[in-house]
Amino acid sequence: MYARKASELVKEFASSEPGQLSTFNNDLFAQVLEECEGHLLHLQPLMRKIQEHENKLKDKRRSEDEVEISEDERRKSEAEKVILQTALKSDQFGALVHHLSLVRNKRCLMAYIYNRAEVIRSLGWMVDSVLPAEIEEKLSSTEKEYFKNHVATLQSYMSELDLHLTVDMVPPKDPYIKVRVLDDIGEVALSDQVANLARHAIMFLRRTDAEQYITQGGQKQRMLRFQYSLDI
């Protein structure tokens, strides 16, 4: 059946966890593209045939109008016209089926990429400029490029506004949050105190101070973790 593969592609996306990506299905994607090629190969000769039929029909009508013809000849030409018209009809419908399948395939392909792009954009809000390796390997090469471009776009908006937007994702309840240090960071001058961020230490820090260490996670290991593990 036409366009079945494309619908599989979309179903695959729809059945994955919302907000999460599965590996980009290169195989299926390429197969759908191939199917599109196939449709075009069918479509083009049909379009040519339709054109020919239409031209013939036009010629027939014109010649009928121009010359007087006998009853017999008229009947014969009527019959020919009917044959031509049926052929035209069947070609038109054939072409239509291929055209619609192509359009449907295209819509499915676009839906697949578009929705994945949406997830990729949402990742842009969660991690700083670099994707964790386990997510990155699920993207296609153009998706990786898209992520980079999009993050750059976001960055340029933020620097123009001089306001960092990727922090403060959850509404603040308390100026201090409880965190556990995951990695030895050492003595750090925070805005209100000098703290020794030793591994496994559990302490209260100012949200704004802690957040930069929490979101740095994308680059290396996450260095701090919310005690209540609210993070990604």
Binding site: I113, Y157, P171
Partner: protein, 220 residues
Amino acid sequence: MDSGAGESSAADEYESLMSTTDAELLKSAWRNEKAAPEILKFDADLVQRSRQQIQLMEEMVDEFNKNGVDPLTVSLYQMDLDRTMFLLRSYLRTRLQKIEKYVFHVEKTVELWNRLSKQEQKFARRCAGDLKHHLEQSALSKLPDQYQSHLRQSAASEDDDMIPEPQLDIYVVCRSKRYLGAFQLDDGGEEPVNIEADDLYALPYKSIKPLVESGQIDLV
């Protein structure tokens, strides 16, 4: 920051003053933006004022810290500052996310385009460029010629028929500050709704859109 309002004698006067402070205005702009399916008008003045206030508050907190004011007082101010910061960031963020989601629609519709700030317009244009490039690279360039547009299904389509648009007929929860009287929902046939002050209603966004835009009704 709105301490001056506390002096006023009548309680309702105080109420009305409170509801027009920038903090409240920002809160309601943020709430509206969160709840509305489409992007609303960018409140440039409000954002400008909020940022100035944030700066003032930051300076104030620093000052307090230096002068050794009671830590509890400082932390209360800090909390207020954090909240305002969050509101502002979340407001801008929500808008960007809407632009990202419906970028082609926003770019094409003049009315929506004019609701964006200068920076947002720049962002939207780049965003649309990125997405278009991505779609082309991934699929469109490999499709037959007549099917390569990212806005139309095929060259045979008469207008742009492949642009995701926000759904405007979803129901939103809203509340009015004042009595607005009988309001006719525009799908017709139904009884007009009496909108009372401070009552909650769930109405289709499409029909109360003008009220939201003129600020007569708040989304919750």
